[in-house]
Subunit: 217 residues, 2 copies
DNA sequence: ACCTGGACTGAACAATCGTTTAGCATGCTG
DNA sequence: CAGCATGCTAAACGATTGTTCAGTCCAGGT
């Protein structure tokens, strides 16, 4: 059989379809994307999409699961590094969003897809948020045990609040980039964003700004 | 002509169609809602929808504008009250989201529509976010002038951050309600949420929790 | 009383949707 | 070599989409 795929691409045709669907779903939403668009983007016939995934909804469910798997793998890698990175507000990674964005190429459709998933009112979205919430609670516990943060009067709410603040950066990324002129999840954006966030978390809105390197006290 | 509308409803048929479209768009997204569904919900024929609004997209644009107008009116009312409510973190309204939710009935489709609008990558969404950002900057200026908050090292970013945190409550409302067991925008939810938020803004993550009424110091 | 114009319907339009089917080519297995 | 499963396409299916059209109804102006 002649290989339909261009040389240097070792993905199966099935994987190509899934990846193109992922990209299109992330960009326009699953409901706005047609089977024919996916097939065309993958360079195959519409019938083959259904042949491989049963139906458009079957494809959507498989893409959901795929994204969840990739995300879980990244999460495991992150917490597996000793977890120190997530526990220390002074470390390089100051937020889940940043750590996540930093582990992905700039043009990855995954952030967009995750954004949709988180707000989509589906089982996959609920599961994802629940996992993130559990991680947020564990992180807050870790910070509290290390004396780096108080658990607050209502730790459940505090963990949810920290998670929501973190995800806001993720969900509103495009809008924030518009008004700030910088993508807050890029390397440049983070050097602006992180200090402000850490300053508030360290001492609230009235705290004196942390001195830049070499500043006077 | 016999009045098509049920007694006690003084809206024009055109307004009924717009309202039903608003409700359905907010619930399922404009792309997932058909003209026939809107017409059926409004108790009219599909042709009449097009007759009044030119096209489905014309209807969507008009609903966008309508929501923007309603929102702007509420915003004007809010800042018109002297603005004190928004400037004082200790006052009743501790966030834009809360003030907004409190001015609407519980079953209002407006929050859902605004959520979609903010993330929709349309002109209306961009305009809305820009207005909110301007308000956030003005509020931060006011707080700084009153000595209630420092403008931070990068006031633009700080205002964006405060806005994003505020909107996160709005965007993730359903997800937060799931994990917390309480709608964070309800009256009950706010009594849990606001103190945590204010505590962080007042003194950071390490601050001692503000004493509840009658507590020992 | 006549006319005009707008609200409104029911039926139909072409286009596009997700999906099905028949069939071709290929590679593996007995 | 025959047989069969698999990857895949081209064409067509019925359903549904947004939209159009012809025509009915009724209020208001002259």
């Amino acid at each position: 059989m002649l290989d339909m795929r261009s040389i240097g691409d070792d993905r199966t045709t099935r994987a190509v379809i899934r990846d193109e669907a992922l990209r299109l779903f992330a960009a326009h939403g699953p409901e706005a994307v047609t089977v024919r668009q996916i097939a065309s983007a993958a360079g195959v016939s519409p019938g083959l999409v259904v042949h491989h995934f049963g139906s458009k909804d079957g494809l959507r469910r498989e893409v959901d699961q795929y994204v969840l798997d990739v995300f879980e793998a990244m999460l495991g890698e992150l917490t597996g590094e000793g977890g120190a990175e997530l526990f220390d507000p002074g470390a390089g990674a100051s937020s889940l969003s940043e750590a996540f964005a930093r582990h992905l190429p700039d043009d990855s459709p995954l952030p967009g897809y995750l954004r949709r998933l988180l707000l989509s009112d589906t089982g996959a979205g609920r599961l994802l948020f629940r996992q993130l919430y559990d991680l947020s609670r564990a992180t807050l516990d870790g910070l509290a045990a290390a004396g780096l943060a108080a658990p607050g009067r209502d730790p459940e709410v505090r963990a949810a609040l920290l998670l929501a603040n973190d995800l806001a950066l993720f969900l509103l990324r495009d809008r924030l980039a518009e008004v700030l002129g910088t993508d807050p999840l890029s390397a440049d954006g983070m050097t602006r964003w992180a200090p402000e966030m850490l300053s508030i978390y360290a001492g609230g809105l009235n705290a004196a700004p942390p001195r830049p390197q070499g500043d006077n006290p």
